[in-house]
């Protein structure tokens, strides 16, 4: 590292400013990141590489010499969490695994989330969206779109898919949120994870003891993988934890933020109502423009690699800053403009490399159905507060709105 004194390096993670949910970070911070690969300072004082270029992030995340295992010494932590207390805590959490260990678990799930499998779930997604809107309309305006629509829809869908009882939603929604909150003490984050694991362990034990044949993901994995000895029950607990949390927070935040953005330009919702077949392209641009994993993806360099003329050495930490890659002039024309009908499919909102979001077909389907029906059923939808007064969760690992007060 040369040129800049360590104390003067920009400090990661970068946060969205309180009053502008569509800015990936403060303008002043962004102006300092002039190269696609730069140096930053992490909260624990450790230096790390920050990669912001679209091409550079693609090259980086496809590289085999990287580790996603946060328990390795030197791994760049965006919040100071202690290392896993035991091997049991790591089991099943394949987003933090590498190589064969990762591939073994991911491959047990890929068929569940592929496009044709999600297509079979689409009537259930449609019904869930319809019923949530029926209830919201019946209760009448005003409403908080987060609690009445954006959160319950993906929550019900992931519960149905996994075979988790939705009536327990208050319990796991609160803990999912705490797990991703970067402002609460580490012990509370770990306690939330423990409580979710205990809940899932009890649920999985109950399913294993049940004589009934259930057609849900956890029950299928019990029958096809746990019963055959390919998977131990605690690994299934970890897998369930990942899918439950990821299935909630990401899509819920995308639905609410997308709605806020579309309400800024009512023409977008009018056009979606008239031409719902444009929804898939619109969803890709929303994913690009909003990129809710705003603090980026952390990785540890395991073998030296060259990136944009810099040498990243084994043992260095590196952060792939997805939101800036999705606003890279080299990849998108006028990247800071929201253009619902641009070709945005090469965005990196789902990440890149072998860890790329496994649930992306599900997320796309939920977003598409939710936004099309919102536009169709609520033509008079508008904000119930000024646009800059919508409370956000700036300190969550997954950016989102705390509330979205609307009326119609």
């Amino acid at each position: 590292m040369t040129g800049t004194a360590f104390e003067e390096l920009p400090a990661a993670p970068f946060l969205t400013p309180p009053r502008d949910p569509f800015l990936p970070m403060e303008r002043a911070d962004r102006r300092r990141l002039t190269a696609p690969v730069t140096r930053v300072r992490l909260p624990n004082g450790q230096p790390a590489w920050l990669v912001t270029g679209h091409a550079e992030i693609r090259q980086l995340l496809r590289h085999p010499g990287l580790s996603a295992d946060a328990s390795r010494p030197g791994f760049p932590l965006l919040r100071p969490l202690p290392p896993p207390r035991s091997e049991a805590d790591r089991q099943g959490l394949f987003i933090r695994m590498d190589g064969e260990e990762h591939a073994r678990l991911r491959r047990m799930l890929t068929a569940e989330f592929m496009i044709k499998s999600i297509r079979r779930l689409e009537p259930m997604i449609q019904r869930t969206v319809d019923e949530a809107l029926d209830a919201m309309l019946a209760a009448g305006p005003p409403a908080d779109l987060v609690t009445s629509f954006a959160l319950p829809v993906p929550s019900m869908v992931i519960c149905h898919l996994l075979g988790v009882p939705y009536e327990d939603h208050a319990f796991f929604q609160a803990r999912s949120r705490r797990l991703l909150d970067q402002t609460i003490p580490a012990q509370e984050v770990l306690a939330a994870a423990d409580e979710l694991r205990d809940y899932l362990r009890t649920l999985i034990d109950r399913k294993r003891g049940s004589a009934e044949r259930h057609d849900d993901l956890l029950s299928r994995l019990i029958r096809e993988r746990v019963a055959t000895g390919e998977l131990v029950a605690n690994e299934l607990v970890g897998i369930g934890l990942l899918l439950l949390v990821a299935g909630h927070e990401t899509t819920a935040n995308m639905i609410a933020l997308s709605t806020l953005l579309l309400l800024r330009h009512p023409g977008h919702l009018d056009r979606l109502r008239a031409e719902p077949e444009l929804a898939p392209g619109l969803v890709e641009e929303l994913l690009r423009y909003l990129t809710i994993v705003r603090t980026g993806l952390p990785r540890l360099v395991v073998t030296d690699l060259e990136l944009a003329g810099r040498t990243l050495r084994a043992g260095d930490g590196v952060i792939a800053l997805l939101p800036l890659a999705n606003r890279d002039h080299a990849a998108f024309v006028d990247p800071d403009d929201f253009d619902p009908y641009r070709e945005a499919h090469q965005h990196l909102a789902f990440g890149f490399g072998v860890h790329q979001c496994i649930g992306q077909p599900l997320a796309r389907a939920e977003l598409r159905v939710a936004l099309v029906e919102l536009a169709r059923r609520l033509p008079g939808l508008r904000l119930a507060v000024p646009g800059d007064r919508v409370p956000a969760r700036e300190h969550s690992v997954v950016y989102g709105l705390a509330e979205l007060p609307v009326t119609w």
């Binding site: 995340l61 496809r62 591939a103 068929a111 569940e112 592929m114 496009i115 072998v354 992306q360 077909p361």
Partner: protein, 69 residues
């Protein structure tokens, strides 16, 4: 830019992570295995009219499991 000639696709199932981007980009050419979700080729020889979709699939593959030859 539209492809003039037929292209041949190469897939590496060992590298595939089952993201399904190829199926989204070129459903006439790519499919996913019902058993493990990994990439399947519906045809290895791609006619010129499908070549652009295949190039997009190669570009979008997060694992670098696809190639042209």
């Amino acid at each position: 830019m539209s492809g003039e000639r037929a292209v041949r696709v190469r897939v590496d199932r060992e590298r595939c992570c089952g993201s399904g981007n190829c199926v989204l980009a070129a459903p006439e050419v790519f499919d996913q295995d019902d058993a493990d979700g990994l990439v399947l080729l519906r045809r290895a020889e791609v006619p010129p009219e499908l070549a652009d979709g295949v190039r997009r699939a190669v570009d979008l593959c997060p694992a670098g499991a696809l190639g042209l030859r």
